[in-house]
Amino acid sequence: MDTTTKKIVLPGEEIDLQGMKQGNGIYHENGKYYAYQLGMLQFYNNYVNLIPLSGKYYPVKNDKVIGKVIDIAPSFWILDIKGPYPGFLHINDTPWKSGSGELNKIMNTGDTVFAKVNEITESKQIWLSLKDNGLRKLEGGHIVSVQPTKVSRIIGKGGSMVNMIKEITGVKIQLGQNGIVWIDGEPDKVLLVIKILKFIEDQAHTSGLTERVKEILEKAR
């Protein structure tokens, strides 16, 4: 059994599990297995998974995301996290303390935060939290969005890609699993990083990407 082959499947395409177990993104009907959506098949650990090639970010517990405040309620902020539902950040899940009606003094609409998905309720309410290492309000900087499915490629193997970009350019980068990237640094370096991100997004399917990005960065230095 070939465990490395990956195949692109279309919604409704029949999948041969080759004796393995049904993983994510696969449904069955009348004893047969079919793909849920457009994606790539991965045979891993005796499970067949479908990795989506496109689509919106779907929140998963403990994901770290970047959200923008779009509204303020009496005791929580409502954030746009680029998913199908808005995210809620309650004052009790932040390091701040506030009297009633003072939330806009801490964070106002348009501000961005790096938060983690704390809980997803049955009715698909998404509660975020700032109580973990590195989670904070993002001051200054620039926001760029990329496809959420390409975030893992930007991170690279064990963070190799993003760490290299940070090292060479000296720019601060914060990646959200929802495809929002926060960048802070010198203007020309920030522009370079944005260009690099688009390049990675575009070339995510090709090999030796880290090396090619390094070349571009060295040249621009």
């Binding site: 490395t4 990956k6 692109i8 279309l10 919604p11 409704g12 993104g25 449904y27 079919y34 849920y36 959506q37 457009l38 994606g39 991965q42 891993y44 990795i51 989506p52 090639l53 496109s54 689509g55 919106k56 403990n62 994901d63 770290k64 199908p84 539902y85 808005p86 009715s123 698909k124 290492n133 590195g134 975030v151 893992s152 490629r153 991170i155 690279g156 193997k157 064990g158 963070g159 993003v162 760490n163 914060q174 990646l175 699993q177 399917h205 090709t206 090999s207 990407l209």
Partner: protein
């Protein structure tokens, strides 16, 4: 339908006005991912039809009272550009456009796993740039490709085709003249995997036998068009230069994806 005319739509050799045989389709071209701002998009050229489709969502449904707590709603909007037909079409939704939007939305809904995304809406915008008969089916065919491009979970990609009666003969995929001066037009859309019918209309009159014949012909053609849809999607997403090595690297990354990369 059946306007009084002296136009001869089928010649003595059995060929139609544009030179096609009775069971021949017009040329079809589908392109995926033509719009950057949309979550998914597709462009279709089907004979003289030129249609662009944009898909947004799933996103929070607005206004709020339209939200359904147990499933997603599918909003389809079929719109014809003012310049899409010979005589300028008065812009905005009319009786016909509202009807087509409704049936296309319902057809797509039957294939989408709507219960996956409660309280959201999936918006499908179908813009007809040039019309030449059969736009509802062409729009629907492109819409399901755009939905797949948007990564929306579906049972299968809906596909369709129309048949009709022209000069007393059952023919496949009517063009503008045949539609205007023919005796009947039957658009049909199916879920190809199960052959379930998701859209069926009839304009004009057919006998039972003729109707059955038209359905059979449309189904056969729909399965052919289904392959064109798949080819169009694969053309965007599968890259032959892809190396096994990259794929392994990506598998690695899936496992590192949840690490904190400050």
């Amino acid at each position: 339908m059946s306007m009084v005319s002296n136009i001869k739509l089928i010649d003595e050799n059995g060929l139609r006005i544009d030179g096609r045989k009775f069971n021949e389709l017009r040329p079809i071209k589908i392109e995926v991912g033509v719009l950057n701002r949309a979550d998914g998009s597709a462009y279709i050229e089907w004979g003289g039809n030129k249609i662009i489709v944009a898909v947004y969502g799933p996103r929070e449904a607005f206004p709020k009272h339209t939200q359904n707590p147990s499933r997603a709603i599918v909003n389809a909007r079929y719109n014809m550009a003012a310049f899409s037909v010979d005589e300028r079409k008065r812009p905005g939704p009319d009786r016909r456009a509202i009807e087509i939007s409704k049936i296309i939305g319902e057809a797509l809904e039957s294939a989408i796993f709507v219960e996956q995304y409660p309280r959201t809406s999936i918006d499908v915008y179908i813009e007809v740039l040039q019309a030449d008969a059969g736009t509802r089916i062409a729009g629907l065919t492109a819409a399901s490709v755009a939905l797949a491009d948007a990564g929306i979970p579906m049972k299968d990609m809906i596909v369709g085709c129309a048949s009709g009666k022209v000069d007393g003969n059952i023919v496949l995929d009517l063009n503008k003249e045949e539609d205007n001066y023919g005796q009947a037009d039957v658009p049909l859309a199916i879920i190809p995997r199960t052959q379930e019918v998701v859209l069926l209309q009839m304009d004009g009159n057919l006998t039972r036998e003729e109707f059955g014949q038209a359905i059979e012909m449309s189904k056969k053609a729909a399965l052919f068009i289904s392959n064109l849809q798949k080819e169009a999607l694969l053309a965007k997403y599968s890259r032959p230069e892809e190396k096994e090595e990259v794929k392994e690297e990506e598998a690695e990354q899936e496992n590192h994806g949840d690490d904190n990369h400050e």
